[in-house]
């Protein structure tokens, strides 16, 4: 039988872990979205080599296991002269991982906007940054949103890997409890439920935004 009292007892510790999970995820989501946008703009720009460098970055990060990236950043980078705390190693690893998927989602969104819109903006005299900001981004965001949401959810869930370098996030706390009390079912069921609630909340926000961006396209 499931020992509910045990779970309730463990909640304060789990919530402390959850705080770290949320903090690391929020930072990684924010940074990766910015890098994703910048990377996508470079990828599609006419700047020599920029597109290829970004494409290589995407292939490299997408083609290597996330856990290996985490270890490389935490254990490898200090040998190369860059020592980061556990927390910032985690933020960096998640940011890099998520950024490549954002680059690709945004790229799909940007290229869906097409020539007609840039013809319209050019003929009206809008400058290219105005066209980018007021026309491309809002239209692209709508088509990029579902896959962007996938990556955001993935970022939150992948933060669990950071227990491997000793970040005291939700999964790390749960594993610690299991190691001392052997309440395997209780602990893992509890944190699954917590992750699920967080992810469902983020999904709901995303779907609300999706609905709002769809508003102009609905027939009435």
């Amino acid at each position: 039988m499931i020992d509910w009292a045990y779970i309730i007892d463990a909640l304060p510790a789990l919530f402390r872990g959850l705080g770290t999970t949320i903090m690391v995820s929020v930072l990684a989501v924010a940074f990766s979205l910015l890098i994703g946008l910048a990377g996508c703009i470079l990828r599609l720009s006419n700047i020599p080599m920029a597109g290829r460098i970004v494409a290589a970055y995407v292939e490299f990060v997408r083609g290597t296991p996330f856990l290996v990236q985490v270890f490389f950043i935490f254990y490898g980078l200090p040998d190369l002269g860059l020592t980061l705390s556990i927390f910032w190693s985690g933020v960096l690893a998640l940011t890099i991982w998520a950024s490549v998927f954002h680059i690709e989602s945004f790229r799909a969104g940007f290229t869906s906007v097409g020539r007609n819109m840039s013809d319209a903006s050019a003929s009206l005299g809008l400058k290219s940054w105005q066209h980018g900001l007021f026309v491309i981004i809002p239209i692209a965001l709508r088509s990029a949103l579902p896959s962007t949401l996938n990556t955001v959810v993935g970022t939150i869930k992948n933060s669990a890997y950071l227990q491997a370098i000793g970040l005291a996030e939700l999964t790390y706390v749960a594993i610690g409890k299991v190691a001392s009390d052997f309440r395997t079912v209780e602990m893992f069921a509890a944190i699954c439920l917590i992750y699920l609630v967080i992810v469902l909340g983020v999904s709901a926000l995303g779907h609300a935004l999706e609905k709002r961006l769809d508003e102009p396209y609905r027939q009435r």
């Binding site: 319209a120 050019a122 003929s123 009206l124 102009p216």
Partner: protein, 249 residues
């Protein structure tokens, strides 16, 4: 005629353009004077759209000279911007911004290109939306309008920028037949007010009624250029006769 008016209009001198190795415009010489209404027709792939898209530098020409209201399109950003401020364009597929309301479609460029306040830009937008007879749709989005309504919005959006010259690139080709009339009526009104217009279209009724001159293009060249009566009654070139026999049935 004063110097300003003499310089106004569009002037193509020996203009050539290639897409890759294919030459799409061959040594085009054409002058559209101030207040003139020119209709360009010709088979698809003849270069007519490319020709008018060169007039506001949506396409770059590689040889020759294009001047619009005396400003040479020489590739400098300043001259391109100056020309685009004076030239409006209406496209085959309307090209309205789908995420903006009709009103915002009509105000965005006024506000960001001309720096007009929101209130003034909206007033101006409503003025032109009334002229194209769709002020009641101002709060809707393009996707909620019929094709004919969308094209009239596109015309209003261009007019909001107070252009000197209007370019129309097959404005009725994407419309269902029953919606063509309303767009042509709007264009006819505009022509009657003295707007300088260059219009790529196969609407020969419109050409007869409105144009000062009809131009037939084929394979990147201007084959024939004449007043409408002359053009339709007595075309000089065999290729023109063949084309007319194919579209006038």
């Amino acid at each position: 005629m004063d110097a300003q008016l003499q310089n106004s209009g569009i002037e193509y001198v020996k203009v050539s353009k290639w897409f890759g190795t294919m030459q799409v415009l061959k040594d085009i010489d054409l002058t559209v004077s101030h207040g003139e209404r020119v209709v360009i027709c010709g088979p698809s792939g003849s270069g007519k759209s490319t020709l008018i898209r060169c007039a506001n530098r949506l396409e770059e020409h590689q040889e020759g000279t294009i001047r619009v209201n005396g400003i040479e399109l020489d590739g400098r950003r300043a001259s391109t911007e100056a020309v685009r401020r004076q030239v409006g364009m209406v496209f085959q597929s309307f090209n309205l911004y789908p995420h903006l309301t009709i009103l915002d479609n009509c105000t965005i460029a006024q506000r960001w290109v001309k720096g007009i306040s929101r209130a003034e830009a909206e007033e101006r937008a409503m003025h032109y939306l009334e002229r194209v007879r769709i002020p009641d749709q101002a709060r809707k989005y393009p996707g909620q309008l019929s094709g004919g309504q969308q094209q009239r919005v596109a015309i209003a959006r261009s007019l909001c920028m107070a252009p000197d010259i209007m370019l129309f690139d097959e404005p009725t080709s994407a419309l269902d037949p029953e919606l063509v009339r309303e767009v042509l009526d709007t264009m006819t009104e505009l022509a009657n007010e003295g707007m300088t217009m260059v219009c790529v279209t196969h609407e020969m009724g419109f050409a007869r009624q409105v144009a000062d001159r009809v131009i037939f293009m084929d394979r990147g060249q201007i084959v024939e250029s004449a007043a409408p009566e002359e053009f339709f009654q007595n075309p000089q070139q065999e290729r023109t006769r063949l084309f007319l026999s194919q579209i006038l049935h």
